[in-house]
Symmetry: C2
Subunit: 217 residues, 2 copies
DNA sequence: CACGGAAGTTGACGCCGTCAACATCGAGGA
DNA sequence: TCCTCGATGTTGACGGCGTCAACTTCCGTG
């Protein structure tokens, strides 16, 4: 525990402490989720006294919130990567649906491959962010949510979705993917379900979602 | 804080300390979620020294886990109540679908009305429970899950669901309802979405799920 | 070149979970 | 009847946590 990762610095001042603390905190979150982001441990790893962090963060919770938003950004990246990897040729409706599906896959890939960061991204917001700022902003304006919303618009425009089902579809769809991620990572399905079963129900869950969104009744 | 809730006891021994601690812990969880279940505070409220709890729980985490399972049981009750309230007359298919819908409503009612307990029910399992015991048992054998599974069987038997979609439907459906509950209680949708909007997307989410499950292709 | 403020340090406080050692009480055998 | 012994509580202490006040170091600017 608490092994310093960098050689002890030479000068009294660090020079880039804020970033160093963030990097260390993100690493801890990656390995152990939000609970692992412990101020004193973060400082220890950077080789600095615990209270030094207070020159850059108003409280430990603020540091966690920064990590949280970094994790959210990485999640958005994972989704975007998956969506962009879908070949754009072929029937526009098929492409739109494939891209939507890919967004769910990217979401779940991140949840499984970066479980600690995923948990941190959705842990309780500790600080109150002022209304106007980037972090106080409604989740509906976040990068990931906007992307998902755009993908649904594509599906609608391609005629693969009944217009009366468009409204609220972001949240309904998000709920399903997120719920599956939560239940199968830190949740009750995490430990007792073998991996191949998880892979099956993962596809099942996405299939069911797409079926609900694109059914033609 | 720390106001004792009962008159200071008269005898050296409490007599029913384990239950008293549990009640107090459940109350704290109800008000503040899993993080509010603090061993010293629980003991303080019961009017007993902190270490007395160690005669009944091996560690603080064990106490939290007990609360967790109590909360899970209450969730199952809420679902059951909602399902039983559905009138059983009319077309069997309609009844089966209505009961399935009611289970989702009962789930979400609990999440919104008892947010602290809901969060506690799904917080990370702190202790390792031995394989065979009631608490080490797979979630798939829990009361709530079994009930949900039975409701899906009813829908299938009533011919309102294509058989090839039955497999894995518990988890897919559970994911959607759970995801919505998580996102709108402690999650990012909790603070910024007004209540009437929540009510709309709540129905939307359930509708989408039922549509996916019962669509006739 | 002095000097003022930004960026680190030390030491302390109260909170937490936990342990070891001690105190109290009630049930059951001598 | 009394004695004892195990179950159940208590006290005091330890280390770890977040945080504050007071002090120190160093760099950029006038």
């Amino acid at each position: 525990m608490g092994t310093p990762k960098t050689a002890p610095r030479t000068s009294y001042h660090h020079g880039d402490l804020r970033n160093a603390l963030m990097d260390s905190a993100v690493e801890l979150a990656r390995l152990g989720g939000p609970a692992a982001v412990v101020l004193r441990e973060v400082a220890r790893r950077v080789g600095v006294s615990a209270t030094a962090a207070y020159r850059h963060f108003s409280a430990a919770d603020e540091l966690v919130d920064e990590v949280k938003h970094a994790a959210l950004a990485k999640l958005a990246e994972s989704i975007e990567r998956a969506v962009e990897a879908v070949p754009a040729d072929g029937d526009p409706g098929d492409v739109a649906v494939a891209r939507l599906r890919a967004s769910a896959e990217g979401y779940l890939d991140f949840a499984f491959n970066e479980t600690g960061l995923f948990q941190t991204a959705f842990c309780r917001e500790e600080m109150e962010h002022p209304e106007g700022t980037e972090k106080g902003r409604p989740f509906a304006e976040s990068a990931a949510f906007q992307m998902f919303s755009g993908l649904l618009d594509e599906v609608l425009a391609a005629g693969r979705m009944a217009p009366q089902w468009r409204d609220g579809a972001e949240i309904a769809g998000w709920s399903m993917v997120h719920g599956f991620a939560v239940l199968t990572t830190d949740g009750p399905l995490g430990r007792h379900v073998p991996d191949e079963a998880k892979a099956f129900i993962r596809q099942r869950t996405i299939d069911l979602l797409l079926r609900g969104l694109t059914a033609t009744d």
